[in-house]
Symmetry: D2
Subunit: 341 residues, 4 copies
Amino acid sequence: MIYFDSDYMAGAHPEVLQRLVDTNLEHTVGYGCDHYTENATRLIREACGAPHAQVFLLVGGTQTNATIIDGLLARHEGVLAPESAHINVHEAGAIEATGHKVLTLPQHQGKVWAEEVEHYINEFYRDETFLHMVAPGMLYISFPTEYGTIYTLNELEALSQVCHDAQIPLYIDGARLGYGLAADECDVTLKDIARLADVFYIGGTKMGAMMGEAVVVTNPTLLKNMTPLMKQHGALLAKGRLLGLQFEALFTDDLYMRIGRYAVDLAMELKEEFTTRGYETVVDSPTNQQFFRLPNDLIDRLRQHASFELWGPQGETHSIVRFVTSWTTTYNDINHLLDLI
Amino acid sequence: MIYFDSDYMAGAHPEVLQRLVDTNLEHTVGYGCDHYTENATRLIREACGAPHAQVFLLVGGTQTNATIIDGLLARHEGVLAPESAHINVHEAGAIEATGHKVLTLPQHQGKVWAEEVEHYINEFYRDETFLHMVAPGMLYISFPTEYGTIYTLNELEALSQVCHDAQIPLYIDGARLGYGLAADECDVTLKDIARLADVFYIGGTKMGAMMGEAVVVTNPTLLKNMTPLMKQHGALLAKGRLLGLQFEALFTDDLYMRIGRYAVDLAMELKEEFTTRGYETVVDSPTNQQFFRLPNDLIDRLRQHASFELWGPQGETHSIVRFVTSWTTTYNDINHLLDLI
Amino acid sequence: MIYFDSDYMAGAHPEVLQRLVDTNLEHTVGYGCDHYTENATRLIREACGAPHAQVFLLVGGTQTNATIIDGLLARHEGVLAPESAHINVHEAGAIEATGHKVLTLPQHQGKVWAEEVEHYINEFYRDETFLHMVAPGMLYISFPTEYGTIYTLNELEALSQVCHDAQIPLYIDGARLGYGLAADECDVTLKDIARLADVFYIGGTKMGAMMGEAVVVTNPTLLKNMTPLMKQHGALLAKGRLLGLQFEALFTDDLYMRIGRYAVDLAMELKEEFTTRGYETVVDSPTNQQFFRLPNDLIDRLRQHASFELWGPQGETHSIVRFVTSWTTTYNDINHLLDLI
Amino acid sequence: MIYFDSDYMAGAHPEVLQRLVDTNLEHTVGYGCDHYTENATRLIREACGAPHAQVFLLVGGTQTNATIIDGLLARHEGVLAPESAHINVHEAGAIEATGHKVLTLPQHQGKVWAEEVEHYINEFYRDETFLHMVAPGMLYISFPTEYGTIYTLNELEALSQVCHDAQIPLYIDGARLGYGLAADECDVTLKDIARLADVFYIGGTKMGAMMGEAVVVTNPTLLKNMTPLMKQHGALLAKGRLLGLQFEALFTDDLYMRIGRYAVDLAMELKEEFTTRGYETVVDSPTNQQFFRLPNDLIDRLRQHASFELWGPQGETHSIVRFVTSWTTTYNDINHLLDLI
C-alpha cells in the first residue's frame, strides 16, 4: 500500500528522531525552561530575522489556535477568518469553547481578500448597531490554506496593512508553513511572514516532527502571559524539551525547508502527470496537497493500492480526492501511483 | 550532578523509546484510530479487569483533568476536591476556564475523608439556598496525592460509596498511579481502582512515557462524546499512535509496574537512611516523592551536587525539600546523595 | 414626533403598570418563589394547553437565549440557526461566550426550511469527519422572524418532525410571539407552539411588559436545573414577583393577544396604504414590523415628523426603512404618517 | 405578619415608582441611550464627586459582578475575595462560568485585611511556580459585607494602596452601599468610595428600586467596551430608561441616603432593644442587617408573627437569625417585634 492520506501518518523525520534518541537519558528542567528549547528559540529567531521575537512551543494545531486566539482577543471580540478556515470547520468548536465567535469572510480558494476584510471592518463600524455585535478583534489566515494555495507577497502585505490600519493583529496558522514557503511560485519568505504577521506558528507535526508547533510573536505588546495561558489550555508540555529538541533539529542544516521542498517537488510531479493525462485539478495548489477530480471507477481501482482521502462526490460519475506528500513519500510511491492511472 | 527534582526530567524509558523507534516509518491513520492504540486499549482493559471500559489517550495531566471534568459536569455544577488538589492549585485555573468551580474540602496529608465529603453534600442540600450555590457534581481525588500519600482500600471504598449514594461520579487523577500501586503498604490494585472509580487516568508522562495519559471510563453512561470533546480541548493528538505505542510498551511485560516498584524501592531506601540519620519526613509518604525537613546549611551543601525542589522555609534554620525518584534514578545516585549527608 | 422605531420605546401597558402599582407595597419572597409568579405560571400553562409545562421568568431576550441554549447543549454541541438569527447577529456573541458555536443555515425571509435542516444533519453525520466538527445539538428559530415573517403550521410541524427524528430539541424565540400569533394569515396557535417546540419563550418586553420573557419548557427531560442556571447567567431577578405580576396581567382578559392584534391591525393599515401609494415592501411581513423601500427624499421629509429605523441604502436613490407598531401606536399616529407620504 | 426577611421583598420606593408612572407613556430610545439615563449619570457623578466617571446601569447584582469581573480580568487571572464573599458562595458559580477563579482570603466578620492581601500577592510571586497558578488580577470586597459590617476609611485606604502598588483594580460590591454609608460609625463617604475604588456599584435593588445597579468606573483605562460586554452578559436592558429613571429618583432630594438612614435607624433600635434584653448579636453590625443568637423556643414564637431568615443552629438550644430593615419597615413593625420578645 502507498500512502497519500496526509502528512501526519508516520513518526518523526530520522534527523528529528535521532536527536530525541541521542538526548533521551539527559535530565533537564521541565515546561520549556531547558536549554534545548532556548536553543530552538534562538535558531527560529535567526531563521525569522526577528531577534526579539518571543517563541513558544505547543503540542498541536487546534490547541495552538485556541490558545493564541483566546490570548489575543478581548472578551467582546471575535476572530475574522475565511469560511473554509480550519478554526471554523474542523476544530470541534475549540474557539467558541473559549468564548469567542469566528466571524466568517468569503473564501477564494481558501484565501481572504484584503479589500473584503477592509470592507467588513468599515461596514461593521458604520453605525451604532455594532455595539450589539461581535467586534472583529483579529484576523486569522493560514499559509498555505486548507486547499493548499498560498498568498502572494502583495496579498500578504495588503492584509497586514488592513490589520495595521484597523489596529487588530494578523495571525497566520502555519501548520504546513514549510510546504508553502517551498512552493516554486512562492515569493514570500519566512522573514516576510515574521515581518507581516503579529503572531504566527511554524507547524512541526505535519513537517517532520512527532508533534509540536512553534508560535512566534513578533509584536511585543501582545501575549504577555503565555506560560499560564498555555498551562490553562493544557498546552504546556511537562517534558517541554522534547519540543525544543525537535525544532532544534528542524532548524539545523535547513531541515525544515529541505522537508518542504522535497514534498513539494513530489507533489508537482504528481500534479503534472495527472494533468498531462487529462485529469483536472480542483484547485491550482502549488504545495504538497493536490486535489483532483477523478472518475469513480479510477478511484476504486486506485484504492486497492493506494490510500488517500475522498473529499466527496462531484456529479454522478466523479469525485474529488486529495493526495498529500511528505518527507515519507518516495519517488517509487509516485511512480507506482502513476502506473495505476 | 544527580537529579531528584521530578519524575519528568528525562525522555522515555528505553523500552518505550525502542517501540517508537521501531515503528517510526510505518504509516497509520491519525487521531488514535490506529491499531497500536487499539492494542494499548486492549492491554489496559485487561490490566484493569474491565473488558468494557472505554480508554482514551491524551497528552498531559492538566489537559486531561480539564477535558474530563468539563465532560462530566453539568453547567451549574462544580468539582469537589481537596484544598491541596493539583486542579485547585497548580493548573493555572484550567478547570475554571471551562466554566466550573473547584469546591474545596479539607485535606489530610493530601487526602479527603469520606465522612467530610458526605457531610459537605448533606449540608449543601439542607435547605433551598443551594439553588444559589454551586452544586457538587463530582469528586476529584488523586492517587497518590500531591504529598505522595495513598488511600487505603477501605478509604477508597468509602469514597466510592459516598459518591454512588450521592449519584456523582468519582474521578481519580493517577498522574503517578504506578508509584502508588507499587507502595509496600498499598492494599489497592489497579483492578480496585477500575472498580471503584467511574473515571480515572493512568499517568504516562511521570511513569516512563515521553508524554501521555490513559483515561479509563468504566461507567458507560458518562462521557459519550469524547472525541469532539478532546478535539475541542486541544487534547486529540494528530499522530495518536505515538500515545498508543507508548502505552502498549508500558503495559507489556509489566513495564508500568516495574517502573513503579523500582522507583519506590529507591525512595524507601532514601527515606530510611534520612530518618535513620535523624532527619524528619514532613509527610509519611510510601511512594516516589519524599519530603524532608532539613537544616539550611545541609541543603546548601547538597545543592552543589544534587538538584531537587525547595518547598519553602520552616522556621529560621530549616526548610522543606522534596526528593523524587523515577526509572532514571540509580542506586549510585542514592548512595552519592547519602554520602553527602 | 410620532414613533415607529421599535416596540420597546415606552414603559408598560397601563393594565400591566396598574398591577405593579396595586401590589407595590406587598411583601413577597424573592427569586420567583412568590404566589404571583405561581399564578402567572398557571395562566401561561392554561393558555398553552400544557398543564405540566415548566415556566421560568427571565428579564431580557439575549439573556434568555444564552441561558436556554447553554442549558440545552452538551459541551461539544452547537445551535443550528438561520444566518439572520438574532443570536447570530445581534447578541454580541452571548452564545459563543457560553462556549457554543452558532451553526448557520440559509435564511429565506428570516426562516429556515425543514429540508435544509434535515440535509445539514444528514450531511454532518455522513462520514467520520464529524467527530472533528461541531455537532448540531438543537435548532433555534424565531416566531416571528427578524423580518417579521411567520412560519405556517405545516412548516413548523415539518421542523418539529426533523428535530424529533434527529433527537435534538426545537427552541423558538418568541420575543414578538404575540404579533405573530395575531397575524391574519397565521394558522398557528399558542397551543401549537407549545405542542411543537421543546422549549420556547413568550416575549414580554416587546409586548407590553416593562421587561420579562416567559420561558415554557414542554419537554420534561430538558433543563432540569434552571434556577442555578438562571442565577449563574445573571437572569434570576431578586424581586421575581415583578415578572410574575406582569405576565399575570398579560395573560388576564386576553391582554397579550389584544396587544398583538391591535398592533398588527395598525401595521396592516400602514402596509396597505404604503403599497396602494406605490411604495414597495421589502419583505411581505404580516406582523407589526414593516419594511419599505422608500426614496431618500421622502425619508428625509418623514424624519422631520416621525422617528423610525434606517436599515441601509438600496442603490443611490432609495433606502430601506422599518416601521414598528405596538400598543402605544395610535390611529392618529398612522394617519399623521400617511398624511406625510 | 411583619417582615424582616430581606430588603428586596416589596416593589419600589413610592418616589421611585411615581417617576416610573409619570413617564410611562413617553417614547425614548432603548439600551440606556435615553436622556433619563444621561441625567441619572450626571446625578451619580455629582454625588460621587467624580465628574469624569463612567456610569453603567445593570439589572441585578450577580449579573453586575460577573460582567465587571469578566471585563476587568485577563484570561489567566482570578479575583481575590474574602471566603465569605457573595461571588464565592451565593452566585451559583457565575464568576467561574466566565472562566475565572475566585481566589479566597480569610474573612474577618466579612472583611479582608490589607496586610493579608499584600501577603498573598507577595507570596504568590515569590518564585517561578506562580506561572502554573492563577494570578490575582483584582480585589473584590463588599461594602457593607455579607455580615453587615463596614470598612473604616483607614482600612479602605490601606486596601486601595495595596491594590495600587500591585497594579490590580479594587472593585467594591455596593449592593447595600447606602446602608453602609448611613451607619453611625461610618467615616467613609460616597466620594471616598469613588476615590479609592477603581470600579464599584451603587446597589438599587436593595435600596428602593424595583431593580438596577449603577456601576461607577473611575479608572478610565479599564472597561473600555462595556456596551457589548453588557449585551454579551445579558445585562443590557432594552428599556434602559427604566433604570435611568429609578436612579434619577434615588439621587434626587437625597432619596438614596434617606432610605439608608431610615433603615439603619430602625436596625439600631432593634439591636439596642435585643441586646438590652440580653440577646447576643453574632456580629456587631452597624447597618440594616442584624444577626442574633436566639433560643429556639423564642424563634418558634416569633415566627408565628414575623418572618425572617434562619441562618442555622448554634448548639442544641439556640440558632442564629437575621433581621433586615428597609424603607418598607415601620416603627410599628419594630415595636410589634419587640413586644414579642
